[in-house]
C-alpha cells in the first residue's frame, strides 16, 4: 500500500470516526462536546471556503463573515416576518393563497411585553389559542439566505476585480463593516444589537429510524452540519482538481501570464467568489438556526480573525488542512477554558488561551508557512511524486533518453 492509499484510508477513517462519534461517546459532557463539534464543523466550512478563496484563488477577502451574516440574517428575517394562517388577522399585511393567508408581520423593533406588540401577537391574543398559525418552513429561509449570500458574492466579486491584495482586503473589510453598521442601525427591522431569535433547526423535533429527537437534541444538527461540511469539501475538492482549479491556481501565481495564456481570469475570479460566499452564507444560515439567535456582533472583525487564524494554522493553501485545522482549534480553544494555578498564581485561561492562540498564529506564519496540517497531508500526497522523480532520475533508461534528447 503506498502513501496515497494510506491517505485515502485515513480520510475514510476520519469520516467514519465523525459519523459514529455520537454513538460511541458517552461521557457526562456529551451535549457539550457535540456542541463544540457542531461549531467546529461550522468553522471548518468557513475556513476551508475562505482558504479556497484566498489560498487557491489569491482573493484575500476579509468579508467572509459578512456573507455568513447575510445567510443568517436572510433566513432569520424570513422566519421572523412571514407566517401562514387559516384565518385573516385583519391587522397585518396579508394575502390570500389558496385556503391560507400569507401574513407579513409589521416591523416594530425591540420591545417588551408591556409595550407595543406586533400585529401577529395582537391577533394571537385576540384569538386566544383558537387559531393555529404556521411558521414558514426553515429550509426555504436557509435557501433564500444562501442565495442572498451568492448574489452579494456576485456583486462584490464584480466590484473587486480590479483590486489587488491590500486594497481587496480593505474593500471587503469596508463592505462587512457597512453591513454590520446597517444591521445595527435598522433596529425597526433587524432588532439591532438585541439580535433576532430564530426557530431551531428542528423546532418540532424529528423522528429518524423510529427514534424521536427533541428540538434541543444534538444529534440531528450534528449530522446536518457534518453532511454540509462533507458536501462543501466535495465541491471544493472538485474545484481544486478540475481544469478550473488549475486555472485558478495559475491566477494566483501570475495573473498576467494566466491571462496571456488565454485563461478568462475575470470569469473564474467571480465564480470563486460566488461559490465560496454561497458556502459561507449556507453555513451561517444553518448555524443561526442551530444556535437560535443572530446578532450583528457575529459579523465583527474579531470573528473574521478567528476564521483567518484557523485557516492559516491549518494550512492556507490547502482547504482540507484548513477544515481539519478549524475543527482541532475550535476543540482546543474550548478545552483550554479551564483555569489552572501555577505557583499560587491563578491563570485565567478564558483569556490566556486566546493570547496563546494569537502567538501560535504568528509562529505558524513565520516558521511553518504552509500551516501545521498541510505538511502532514503533503507527506502522503507529494511523497510518491518525489520518489517517482527520484526513481526516474535513478533509472538509467530515462537518463539516456534525456541525454539523447539534449544531444540529439
Amino acid at each position: 500500500m503506498n502513501r496515497q492509499q494510506t491517505l485515502w484510508l485515513i480520510s475514510i477513517l476520519i469520516i467514519v470516526f465523525f459519523m459514529t462519534f455520537p454513538f460511541l461517546y458517552g461521557r457526562r459532557d456529551y451535549d457539550y462536546i457535540m456542541h463544540v463539534l457542531i461549531t467546529g464543523f461550522f468553522y471548518a466550512i468557513l475556513a476551508s471556503s475562505w482558504s479556497m478563496l484566498s489560498g487557491y484563488a489569491g482573493q484575500f477577502s476579509f468579508g467572509h463573515m459578512a456573507f455568513m451574516g447575510l445567510g443568517a440574517y436572510g433566513t432569520a428575517l424570513f422566519s421572523h416576518y412571514f407566517y401562514l394562517s387559516p384565518v385573516p388577522t385583519n391587522l397585518c399585511t396579508e394575502f390570500e393563497i389558496g385556503d391560507q393567508y400569507f401574513i407579513i408581520k409589521d416591523a416594530i423593533g425591540v420591545t417588551s411585553s408591556t409595550l407595543d406588540q406586533d400585529c401577529l401577537t395582537k391577533a394571537l391574543a385576540i384569538w386566544d389559542g383558537s387559531v393555529q398559525i404556521t411558521p414558514m418552513p426553515i429550509w426555504i429561509g436557509i435557501l433564500l439566505g444562501s442565495m442572498l449570500g451568492g448574489i452579494f458574492g456576485l456583486l462584490i466579486g464584480m466590484l473587486v476585480l480590479r483590486l489587488r491584495a491590500a486594497y481587496l482586503a480593505l474593500f471587503t473589510l469596508g463592505f462587512s463593516e457597512i453591513l454590520r453598521a446597517t444591521i445595527s442601525a435598522e433596529i425597526k427591522i433587524t432588532r439591532g444589537q438585541a439580535g433576532i431569535e430564530l426557530p431551531y433547526l428542528f423546532e418540532n423535533g424529528i423522528t429518524v429510524f423510529g427514534h424521536e429527537f427533541s428540538k434541543t437534541d444534538k444529534i440531528p444538527p450534528y449530522y446536518v452540519m457534518f453532511f454540509l461540511l462533507l458536501a462543501c469539501m466535495a465541491v471544493l475538492a472538485w474545484l481544486a482538481k478540475s481544469r478550473f482549479g488549475l486555472f485558478v491556481r495559475a491566477l494566483r501565481e501570475d495573473e498576467d501570464a494566466a491571462a496571456a495564456l488565454g485563461v478568462n481570469t475575470v470569469r473564474f475570479k467571480i465564480m470563486v467568489f460566488v461559490i465560496t460566499s454561497t458556502m459561507a452564507a449556507l453555513a451561517g444560515a444553518v448555524q443561526a438556526h442551530y444556535v437560535g439567535i443572530i446578532t450583528p456582533n457575529n459579523l465583527m472583525i474579531l470573528q473574521m480573525s478567528l476564521v483567518v487564524a484557523m485557516a492559516v494554522i491549518g494550512g492556507l493553501e490547502n482547504f482540507a488542512a484548513a477544515a481539519i485545522g478549524a475543527i482541532i482549534i475550535q476543540f482546543l480553544l474550548e478545552l483550554l477554558r479551564e483555569s489552572f494555578v501555577i505557583g499560587g498564581v491563578e491563570v485565567d485561561m478564558t483569556l490566556w488561551r486566546l493570547v496563546f492562540f494569537g502567538a501560535l498564529l504568528m509562529i505558524t506564519l513565520r516558521f511553518y508557512r504552509n500551516g501545521l496540517i498541510t505538511p502532514i497531508i503533503e507527506f502522503f500526497t507529494r511523497a510518491h511524486v518525489a520518489s517517482e522523480t527520484v526513481e526516474k532520475r535513478m533509472d538509467p533508461k530515462t537518463e539516456d533518453v534525456e541525454e539523447e534528447g539534449i544531444t540529439g
Binding site: A166, Y167, F171, A181, I187, G358, L361, M362, R369
Partner: protein
C-alpha cells in the same frame, strides 16, 4: 422629522448617472485610444453633477482629464446633495442652526487632525515596507494603556506628558522587536505573497496584544486624568465673554463653539508631533534616507542606505505614532483593550482616501474623514440611527475611493515597498 422623497430621488438620480458615467466614459476613452486612468472618476463625477447634459459633451469631446475637470463636478454634486438635504429636512439642526454647524465642523476638524496623525503612522509603514499593518489599532490601545499605567498605577502622580514619552519609547521598542522577529522574511524574497503575509502577521500581533492586555490588565474601563486644565479666561470682558470663555474642561468661542479640553490638548500635541515629523523627514539625514527608500529602494541602496535599518525604523516609528495618538486620547475616552478596533479601521479609510503611501494625503484624509463623520452623526435625521451608522460613514468613503480612484487623492500609481506592485 419628516423624511422627504426629494432627497432620496436626488440621491438615486445622482447614483444612476454616476454609474452610467463611470461605465461608459471609460469605454469611450478606450475606444478613442486615450489615457483611461482617471476616466472612471471623471465619468462618474460629471454624470452625478450634470447628468446626461454633462455626459454627452464629455463623450463627444473626450477632453484630456485635468484636475479642474474632476474637482468642479465633484463640488457641484456635493452641492446638489446638500441642497436636496436642506429642502428635504428644513428643520434639521444642520440646516437651521448655524452654531450647531460651527460646533460640529470644529469638532470634526479637531478629531480629524488626531486621526490624520494616526493614519500617518500607517502610511509611513506602507510606504517603506509595502504592507498594511493590521496591528495599528493595538499600538494605539497600548499607547493609551501605558499612559494610564505609568501615571496612575506604577508611578502615581507622574506627569502625563512623561507618561506619553514612556508610551512612545516602549511602543517604539515593541515595534522594532516585532519587525526584527517577524517581518525580516519579507525582504529577501523568501515569501511568495508578501502583502498577504504582512497583513496576516500583523493581524496575529493585533490578536495577541489585545488579549494579552486584557489578560494582564483586566477589562475594566480606565482613564487618565486631563493632562492640563484650561486657565480661566474671560474675553473681551468678564460680564460678556462673547469672544472666549473657558472653564477647566471646556472652552467656548464666540458663544457658540465649544471645544473640550482633552481633544484640544490632543490635537495641539498632534500638530506639534506632525511638525517634528516633517522636520525629521525633510531636514535630517535619516529622514531623507527613509524617504529615499520609499521612493526607490534599489537606488537608495546604491547610495549607501541600508534598507533593512529603514524597515525597522519605519515600522517602529509607525507603531509609535499610533501609540502617541492613543496616549493623547486616553484623557478623552474611557480605555479598554478593545478600543483599537474602530480607530484602526478609520486609519485604513484615511490612508486609502489620501493615497496609500502618501504622507500629506494621510493628513488631508484625516481631516476629511473627521468632517464626514461629524456631518454624518450630526445630520442624519433619525436620532435613533445616527450614531449606529458612525463606522459606516468612513467605510462608504473607502468603498467609493476604491471604486473611483484606487490610488486615492494624492497616491502614486505604484509604491515601491519591498515588493513593488500594490
Amino acid at each position: 422629522m419628516e423624511y422627504s422623497a426629494i432627497f432620496w430621488w436626488t440621491t438615486l438620480w445622482l447614483l444612476f448617472w454616476g454609474v452610467v458615467g463611470s461605465i461608459f466614459t471609460r469605454r469611450v476613452y478606450l475606444r478613442k485610444d486615450l489615457d483611461t486612468s482617471n476616466s472612471i472618476l471623471v465619468g462618474s463625477m460629471v454624470g452625478a453633477a450634470f447628468g446626461p447634459v454633462g455626459l454627452v459633451p464629455l463623450w463627444l469631446k473626450t477632453p484630456e482629464i485635468s484636475r479642474k475637470l474632476i474637482l468642479i463636478p465633484a463640488f457641484v454634486s456635493v452641492g446638489i446633495m446638500m441642497i436636496a438635504f436642506a429642502l428635504a429636512d428644513p428643520q434639521n439642526n444642520c440646516v437651521s442652526n448655524g452654531s450647531f454647524v460651527a460646533s460640529q465642523i470644529t469638532n470634526g476638524l479637531i478629531i480629524g487632525i488626531i486621526y490624520g496623525l494616526m493614519a500617518l503612522g500607517l502610511t509611513l509603514i506602507f510606504s517603506i515596507l509595502g504592507i498594511v499593518s493590521f496591528s495599528h489599532g493595538e499600538f494605539y490601545m497600548i499607547g493609551g494603556m501605558l499612559v494610564y499605567y505609568s501615571t496612575v498605577v506604577w508611578f502615581p502622580g507622574l506627569h502625563p506628558v512623561i507618561g506619553v514619552l514612556i508610551a512612545c519609547l516602549l511602543t517604539f521598542m515593541l515595534g522594532a522587536v516585532f519587525e526584527r522577529l517577524f517581518l525580516t522574511p519579507l525582504y529577501d524574497g523568501r515569501i511568495d505573497r508578501p502583502v498577504e503575509y504582512g497583513i496576516l502577521i500583523t493581524f496575529g500581533l493585533a490578536f495577541t496584544l489585545q488579549y494579552f492586555v486584557q489578560a494582564v490588565g483586566g477589562a475594566n474601563p480606565v482613564k487618565a486624568k486631563r493632562f492640563f486644565d484650561f486657565p480661566r479666561i474671560r474675553l473681551p470682558d468678564k460680564a460678556d465673554p462673547w469672544l472666549i470663555k473657558t472653564s477647566r474642561g471646556n472652552m467656548e468661542l464666540f458663544d457658540t463653539i465649544s471645544i473640550s479640553n482633552p481633544r484640544f490638548v490632543a490635537s495641539v500635541i498632534s500638530i506639534m508631533v506632525l511638525l517634528g515629523l516633517l522636520y525629521f523627514l525633510y531636514r535630517t539625514w535619516t529622514g531623507k534616507a527613509l524617504r529615499a527608500v520609499s521612493q526607490d529602494r534599489d537606488a537608495a541602496t546604491i547610495a549607501g542606505i541600508n534598507p533593512h535599518h529603514m524597515n525597522m525604523l519605519a515600522f517602529a516609528m509607525g507603531g509609535m505614532i499610533a501609540a502617541l495618538s492613543g496616549a493623547t486620547l486616553v484623557q478623552a475616552f474611557s480605555w479598554l483593550p478593545q478600543v483599537g478596533m474602530i480607530p484602526a479601521m478609520r486609519s485604513f479609510v484615511i490612508v486609502v482616501l489620501g493615497g496609500l503611501g502618501s504622507l500629506p494625503g494621510a493628513f488631508i484624509g484625516g481631516i476629511i474623514i473627521g468632517l464626514v463623520e461629524a456631518a454624518g452623526t450630526g445630520c442624519v435625521p433619525d436620532p435613533q440611527k445616527a450614531s449606529s451608522y458612525i463606522p459606516a460613514y468612513g467605510m462608504i468613503v473607502l468603498t467609493l475611493t476604491l471604486l473611483l480612484r484606487p490610488t486615492g487623492l494624492l497616491g502614486r500609481r505604484f509604491a515601491s515597498g519591498t515588493h513593488g506592485k500594490l
